[in-house]
Symmetry: C2
DNA sequence: ATTAAAGTTAAAGTTAACTTTAACAATTGG
DNA sequence: CCAATTGTTAAAGTTAACTTTAACTTTAAT
């Protein structure tokens, strides 16, 4: 059983938890503050506010931002990402919403597995292309050596 | 040395090579014909034409389309893809252009390696989220069992 | 030969994901 | 305290990647 006392014990740690202003977080993630605000508008993150109404980001918020950016890098749209993370952090979400997010995520695992395979294929494709290019480049260089007198 | 004769020998095979109309290729790749035309406008593919001016796609063209779509799935922009494939198929390209493409591709290998790592992280993140969601869902179900009489 | 289906171009329209701007409020350093 | 910096919102602007449309041509099937 958790007493009020044992909760109190974590108070200091909680209060010490590192927070960020919007521009600090933006710098850290190498994106612009407006991008972060834009994601908030889309419902992807909900930072706390100071009494003066300025945004305060927790490390939890930061982790979520990282997840969003990671998803984006794999071509997921913001709407898809929103569905994936759903309201995972919000204890308010209803069963139906939770199960929807879960189903969505299950599908994403398959997509990720597929992505891994495709990355290998993409790598192979690029390897073939670069081999061709290298061959072509060395041929061109050889040709240049045989008649190096175009401008001399 | 390749004689005119030995070239002739491959004629039949070349003429038999499978080709596609724009809508056939589109169906195959599950994209729309206009998307393919759009990529052509951007210089990503250059199909042959019939005497009546309709586009004819070779399997080489098809392979390139697949590469483009694969690149896209990993968040590469069309411009980036254009730089990667450069004029790899075009024997006209100049040394400078070839070396530019090569340098570009070298960079992409690093990006792909990074992507592989990130896919693993993304997978882990989603795993954590889905565990949380499952826990939450089962809690909600338990609660529902205790008071199942809201509308009855 | 005729006509439906599929193709062509150029131009305008759409959508997602930001970015910029304007006008104003909060925070920080000297 | 006060100026510079950083923050706030709402709205308009931008860009990439398509999609749609219109007006017309080619191809395929009867």
């Amino acid at each position: 059983m958790k007493s009020a006392q044992s909760r109190q014990n974590t108070r200091e740690a909680l209060e010490k938890a590192k927070t960020y202003t919007i521009s600090q977080l933006a710098a850290l993630l190498e994106i612009s503050p407006s991008t972060i605000r834009f994601y908030e508008e889309k419902g992807l993150i909900s930072p706390e506010r100071t009494k003066g109404n300025q945004r305060v980001y927790s490390s939890r918020n930061k982790a979520r931002m990282k997840l969003i950016l990671r998803g984006k890098r794999f071509g997921f749209s913001l709407d898809e990402i929103a569905e994936m993370i759903g309201l995972a952090d919000e204890p308010k979400s209803e069963l139906a919403q939770i199960e929807k997010s879960l189903a969505y995520i299950k599908g994403k695992f398959d997509q990720i597995a597929q992505s891994k395979k495709e990355l290998d294929i993409l790598e192979q494709d690029l390897l073939v292309i670069s081999k061709k290019l290298e061959k072509r480049a060395s041929e061109l260089k050889k040709a240049q050596n045989k008649k190096p007198a175009t401008s001399g």
